[in-house]
Symmetry: C2
Subunit: 223 residues, 2 copies
């Protein structure tokens, strides 16, 4: 496909720019089987976001994350007092960038590209995340699904990019490590790069990324 000049690179947050390992560590302090606990918590966090979007019963990602935590705790027989629950939830504010995140942002910014985040996270989650990690200065905007009151991969979320930044889809590169997000962005009409850090299999959703990289360091050659 003939592409317009690239003006903006838009990133997913969790798993793409930020490593959620801190949340796994927090689970290790309360759960008998931390790997099972975090897997269930994250699966329910996503599932509840999808289901609420389908039911048109939006609740923000902080609320969905807490609902998912309650389910994971009940399902694994993990009793959580208020202090422990708070510590687990706060771990989402403590996730850290991957090693390749800041160098990639710096390189792309130096080329005059507009950078932004488009995430399922609530506005407050995103704001705290980029401040805590010292990356706030790189981003023109932190776009939360909250403005569309639905969740990825629904089209109104991806439409926020043009609406809020004024860049057309063809002038954009959308970057995500989550294949369902890749599929949603492609379905909407964005050029997409899949960051496949771990050799994951593509999901069978009838959509394919335009580009695949295993590190954000490879983004510079795409724009």
């Amino acid at each position: 496909m003939g592409e317009a000049q690239r003006r903006a690179v838009i990133f997913d947050a969790y798993g793409t720019l930020f490593n959620v390992e801190a949340v796994r560590h927090a689970c290790a302090t309360v759960a008998q089987d931390p790997a099972q606990f975090i897997a269930l918590w994250r699966a329910k966090q996503l599932e509840y976001a999808f289901l609420r979007a389908l039911m048109q019963r939006y609740a923000d990602f902080w609320s969905v994350t807490r609902d998912a935590l309650h389910y994971a705790a009940a399902a694994t027989g993990t009793a959580l007092d208020q202090r422990q629950e708070l510590a687990l939830m706060e771990a989402w504010h403590s996730v850290t960038p991957f090693a390749d995140t800041e160098p990639a942002l710096r390189e792309l910014a130096s080329r005059g590209l507009t950078l932004a985040i488009l995430s399922n996270g609530s506005p407050e989650m995103l704001d705290r995340l980029v401040r805590a990690t010292g990356l706030a200065g790189y981003f023109r905007r932190l776009l939360s699904v909250d403005a569309a009151r639905t969740y990825k991969p629904a089209a109104p979320v991806y439409a926020l990019i043009e609406r809020e930044l004024g860049v057309r889809p063809a002038e954009t590169l959308f970057v995500s490590s989550n294949f369902w997000d890749v599929a949603g962005a492609r379905s909407y009409g964005l050029p997409v790069c899949w960051v496949n850090r771990v050799g994951a299999l593509p999901e069978q959703l009838g959509q394919q990324p335009n580009h695949v990289v295993d590190s954000l360091a490879q983004l510079a050659r795409l724009v």
Copy 2:
């Protein structure tokens, strides 16, 4: 809530009226770890249905089920030849009713209630299922999400009940074993009975069933 006189009982199919054990058995013929294989296949089958509904990229449930099978086979390193793939897919036509299914249908039908199925299954899957199990005579209609070109728990699916059967939500009892389906039907405004055969935990979706039973034998006292 004050309820109108009950005129119709609408059932989910897979897991509610029909035991999908036959699919598990079919997996045992090809997979090294059949429990892992069927769990992944079913998780992806549902996830792909949800994601396609969110992307407004409907493909029918047969097609989604095959896509999910391809993912499960690749992810578990299970090589499937064409004959094996067909056998696994055909297992969905071989699922059998639970022991309490036909007695419950007979009892409800004897009271003059309109019975129908409302399922994510494609029209052909549902048609073959009720014919193969000898239950076709009990149902006024087999309502497939296909008519709405989306998936449960999206509201347009539940709207098919009134549109196709002419019964108002308050005159209906919707019956499902899947909590996300319970939540979707409640969110739409249907009175709902959750069939919790296995002592599952309620999902944290902000919706609660009106009734909970552990067997279809208990439905008769609700209508």
